[in-house]
Symmetry: none
Subunit: 231 residues, 2 copies
Amino acid sequence: MLQLERQQDLMRLLRERKSMTVKELCGALFASPATVRRDLQVLEQAGLLTRSFGGAVLCETFPDQQPFAVRSGAHVTEKKRVAAKAALLIHPGETVFLDASSTTSYIVPHLRDIPDLTVITNGPRTCLLLAEYGIRSFCTGGEMLEGSHALVGRDAEVYVRGIRAHVCVFSARGVETDGDITDSSKAERDLKIAMLERAARSVLVHDSSKLGRCYPYVICPYTAPDNIVGE
Amino acid sequence: MLQLERQQDLMRLLRERKSMTVKELCGALFASPATVRRDLQVLEQAGLLTRSFGGAVLCETFPDQQPFAVRSGAHVTEKKRVAAKAALLIHPGETVFLDASSTTSYIVPHLRDIPDLTVITNGPRTCLLLAEYGIRSFCTGGEMLEGSHALVGRDAEVYVRGIRAHVCVFSARGVETDGDITDSSKAERDLKIAMLERAARSVLVHDSSKLGRCYPYVICPYTAPDNIVGE
DNA sequence: CTCACCTCGATCGTTTTTGATCATTTATGA
DNA sequence: TCATAAATGATCAAAAACGATCGAGGTGAG
């Protein structure tokens, strides 16, 4: 069997099963463990899968298994439910700001069914996801923040201020129902404020882990957003 | 049998079987391995198939419409070698433009060892990769091109024109050694030209599948780049 | 008819792939 | 924490495929 053919088969299998062990792949592809491992190495480099001891996991651009999902891993199902609810607040033909958080990225799949949307985000990962779902999307420029994988800084702000959107969907690290909505990064906070200022409506999405937390940089008071979507 | 007739038969077979070995093709076409290989070479140049050691795999859709993941899966080892060579042309402290192609993204791991770099890219995927490797990186803004996952348009160009870089590392869809370096997307071409204009040096990286191909949008003549890195 | 030209197949040195071996690392449970 | 079993990466040798080159055969123009 050809190398490329085998690698394509491997990916096909992985797409079905989401994850497979080296042993399983050996059986399915009629190849030795060494060969399977070599293929996995190549495909991991290409960003198509993530290797793990004993096998490999399909690498979807989805945040679930991404490295930066360390923070978000625990609340995935909750975030998905929240995202589904928030998507109901977005209407056909609108222009939407999405911030760079993992919570907001879960909204993307729900946007596919809303026609004629334009989405602007400062999250490269969210932007890629939007492209995969065939949604017209724009990315702000800016400096890459290592921790959160968000684009921030003056360039990002200038970009946002050049746009008028119907709605801004954003998240935050801390949400106090009797106080403020706060963030731990000044750069990200500044950008969120810019987005809020340039959008007619605002929607805060948050999972339960954010409640009661407080961080140094205030985005806005809890009463400010037009909608707050939690559980 | 005529050459053209044989090549048409080869493609017909390949369309049925999706992939075939050189041996199989020899038997089916009553030709020697050398002849089959020559045909495969021609047909690969034409973009109809992808060669793999031992045979060839059908190139399903037109390359332009091929999903990014599939396209980037081919020629991986070659791209990695080319990228490693190109990385040697980048020096500590420099500011670097990287375009959004898969070939240039393979340079990223090699940049980790070069201190004090600043990298600007119009590829969200490349930008994420840079962040993962802890390299100070910036992303241009712009509209997301669905096919290639590149950020393009006026916003991207304005961003690039606000920067002066030491070197621009770029790739192209078509490379003719006695002609031009060309691309299939006007928007991407325009951005590459902008990057080249704002960089003191230029490095073209390409794998062998690009050689001899020609696309409508000219980036620059083959003689223009300061360095050309292939195999 | 002869010459130039093109295609094809054969040969040979080189490269690629692959499975085996072995030391090292990793996960897991005592 | 430590031991054990499994998985991994590195290295190697053999087999297969590859590219380059050369000569044979066939075709068309002069």
